[in-house]
Amino acid sequence: MTEFRQLLELPDLEWVIIGSPQEARLEHVIIALEAGKHVYTELPLTTSYVLSLSLSLSLSLSLFPPSWSLG
């Protein structure tokens, strides 16, 4: 599987565990959420406070219908 988006196109796929390298983690989280998949991702989500805050605000405003969890 060469592209992350190909993973999200798998039939019946409902949620994704994301433990990507840190520099790609947030990108994968956003892509997965926008694709309508539920997301469980590892900490830290980003190394940027502003980016983390922006994503948290977006999620709290339900811009992305799927749920997500950090751990």
Partner: protein, 144 residues
């Protein structure tokens, strides 16, 4: 591609070697027992990860799921899910490609594009205009 057990998962070479080594060291045990022993490493972390996974409200354990990245925590959590819910939980895909663009360039590009995307999302949804402007200003200030 549907994967039901750790044995079928064609894990990374590292994981396979661990399983083989543990099996060799404890030849009396079955491979399943060796896998269970592997999964019991750092039980506290597994429990925390499991609890976090269970928090996901709209994704029941029966759902088909995929894994992006094969960090140790990801492998442990996946193994836990498969071992505890092997009849219900289906691992349907694994993505483990490393970024090819130099990390710094990629990170800055992704940060910029995501910042703009998130700011625009906020701008569309937030009724408090000043708060939106403030958020965008914060992001721009951070990037510059």
């Amino acid at each position: 591609m549907e994967i039901d057990t750790l044995e079928d998962a064609a894990w990374t070479r590292e994981h396979q070697e661990i399983v083989v080594r543990m099996s060799a060291e404890k030849a009396a045990q079955t491979k399943e027992q060796a896998i269970q022993e592997l999964l019991q490493i750092d039980v506290a972390a597994i429990v925390r990860a499991s609890e976090q996974a269970c928090v996901v409200p709209a994704a029941p354990p029966k759902a088909a799921f995929a894994v992006a990245g094969l960090s140790t925590t990801t492998k442990r959590l996946t193994g836990l899910l498969l071992s505890n819910h092997s009849a219900d939980c289906r691992l349907v895909g694994v993505y483990d490609n490393q970024p090819t663009v130099p990390e710094y360039v990629r990170h800055r590009y992704v940060s910029l594009s995501l910042s703009l995307s998130l700011s625009l999302s906020l701008a569309r949804s937030m009724r408090n205009f000043m708060l939106t402007i403030s958020t965008i200003a914060l992001v721009i200030k951070f990037l510059l």
